[in-house]
């Protein structure tokens, strides 16, 4: 099956086997985008290369690189960890940056505050030990214990 898409004055041609055409919905009136198709193929190639031939499989949902090749989409949120290495290059070409900037759910904001607090406390603690201020160090140790516990409980909530 041969396909030509003209977008923004540029003509792109792709040859597909019938099965790929079906899974990409080329015959489907609900529409599809050649860009997505190409991005999808590019990504799966990268995933294959990174895997060095051995198939990477998501332990959470069983999604494989072959599935990604077919769908151009991932299986579950955990897949971003499973395929993090090959995806990194892809995300770089797709987006403005590789780290999230913007809205953060409140529960994560809370966690981030706690872990920031933890870092500050640990710095203070090592300084207190250095200065042999053991009373201060004992207090800090207590606070670190509490903060760690709060962080752990909110992470599992």
């Amino acid at each position: 099956m041969h396909l030509t898409q003209i977008a923004a004055d540029k003509m792109q041609k792709v040859d597909l086997c019938e099965e790929c055409a079906k899974t990409k919905g080329v015959n489907d009136p609900t529409g599809f985008s050649l860009a997505d198709l190409l991005l999808g193929l590019g990504a799966s190639q990268e995933i294959e290369q990174a895997g060095g031939g051995a198939e990477i499989k998501c332990s959470r949902c069983g999604f494989t690189q072959a599935d990604f090749k077919k769908a151009g989409r991932l299986g579950c949120p955990e897949c971003y960890k499973t395929f993090s290495e090959p995806l990194e290059g892809l995300l770089k070409t797709m987006h403005k940056g590789t780290r999230h900037i913007g809205k953060i759910p409140e529960s994560f904001r809370h966690n981030r505050d706690l872990s920031d607090r933890l870092k500050v406390l640990q710095k203070k603690l090592s300084k207190a030990i250095e200065n042999e201020d053991f009373e201060e160090a004992a207090n800090l140790r207590d606070e670190i214990k509490q903060t760690t516990a709060r962080l752990a409980s909110s992470a599992t909530a």
Binding site: F32, L34, C61, F63, R73, L87, L90, K96, H100, R112
Partner: protein, 370 residues
């Protein structure tokens, strides 16, 4: 609940006003969200999709914005109803193809619409008439903040909101506006504009979004990148670009009327001629000619005619809306006949366009000076 009793009648829908609605038909901000512990809809088996739907749907229904909302599972909607929702730009074509395990929640005002188990577990969108991107972003941000308290979102501090397709990861936001650009098309300036907009990392698409043609000179402009840029910055960038496109469209219209008025009047006059007299007309031709009539209204060739008359026909002449007005199943040929009948009837009170605009502001000034 009957969808047709719920949806705003086309006549009222066409009369909604917004800033710059002469050119900007509507604004939209969409957020993609997923639940942490479930496979994405495209990979999940039916029982898992149903479970996700049963989790998300009640959470959305209890939002204060969703009081008296229309809430339905996609498998209980007819193909025709789904198509109607696509023609109203309330759901995507992809969502219309969904069945069991997918759902839709739409508020009374049709300003907030949530698709459940489309490509992602949740795609929620805020819609506004005219150019109102900031208002749409604020509305959807608020709904999202309320929902995050009830739903356990898939979020990574590094990659942001995790989505089925890596193209949406990060903010999961798509900010878009639907623009009517007949001036740029007639002035043959549309392609350079599209190219420069593309260079800025924004996408230009057709009337129904991804992979569709720009019927009726209607284009959708939206952001493409979602990772590494904050929502507010994306909204602001798009607003700046839209302001420029609006200016270019107005300039093209003014230039055409000054340099090639006959070409413009000819297009508009012929469009009116066909629409007011045809006995068979396709949906595509109707859209393209209605676009020219809309331009005619804008430049003052149809005094006393409201733009909403044209905008209402834009909705009513589309295939599913036309089919809905008739009980028996229509073939495409039959629809073309009925469409032509309806347009002729609607245009009966509309006089043919003036030979030139009745009172363009510049002509008024000239007279006053003499």
């Amino acid at each position: 609940m009957d969808l047709h009793l719920f949806l705003i009648p086309p006549a009222d829908s066409a009369r909604r006003k917004g800033p710059y609605d002469r050119i900007v038909m509507s604004s939209r901000v969409r957020l993609a969200r997923n639940l942490k512990d479930a496979a994405f809809p495209g990979w999940a088996k039916k029982p898992e999709r149903v479970k996700v739907l049963e989790l998300i749907r009640p959470a959305i229904e209890t939002l204060p914005e969703m009081k008296d909302a229309y809430s339905e599972a996609m498998d209980s909607l007819s193909t025709l109803d789904k198509q109607i929702l696509v023609e109203r730009h309330l759901i995507s074509r992809e969502h219309a193809a969904k069945g069991a395990g997918s759902g839709l929640v739409l508020n009374r005002e049709e300003t907030l619409c949530c698709m459940i188990n489309e490509e992602d577990h949740l795609r929620m969108q805020a819609l506004r008439p005219g150019l109102q991107l900031k208002q749409a972003w604020n509305a959807i941000d608020q709904a999202d903040s309320a929902l995050e308290k009830k739903l356990d979102y898939a979020f990574s501090p590094d990659l942001g909101y995790l989505t089925a397709c890596p193209t949406n990861i990060g903010t999961g936001i798509r900010v878009s506006a639907m623009l009517h650009l007949p001036g740029l098309v007639l002035d043959e300036q549309i392609n350079p504009i599209i190219q420069s907009v593309n260079k800025l990392g924004l996408a230009v698409r057709g009337l129904y979004g991804e992979g569709t043609e720009a019927l009726g000179n209607v284009f959708q402009v939206s952001n493409q990148m979602t990772l590494g840029e904050a929502e507010a910055a994306i909204v602001e960038r798009l607003e700046k670009v839209l302001a420029q496109i609006i200016e270019h469209e107005e300039n093209s219209r003014a230039r055409l009327l000054e340099k090639k008025p006959k070409m413009v009047y000819n297009h508009i006059g012929r469009a009116y001629g066909v629409l007011a007299n045809a006995h068979s007309i396709s949906s595509k031709e109707t859209m393209n000619l209605l676009s020219l009539m809309r331009l005619g209204v804008d430049v003052g060739l149809f005094p006393g005619v409201e733009r909403s008359l044209v905008d209402e026909l834009f909705i009513l002449t589309q295939p599913a809306h036309l089919q809905k007005q008739h009980s028996e199943k229509l073939t495409a040929e039959e629809r073309d006949l009925l469409r032509a009948d309806m347009v002729r009837e609607r245009l009966r009170p509309v006089s043919r366009p003036l030979g030139k605009p009745s009172a363009p502001p510049s002509a008024e000034l000239d007279k006053a000076g003499k």
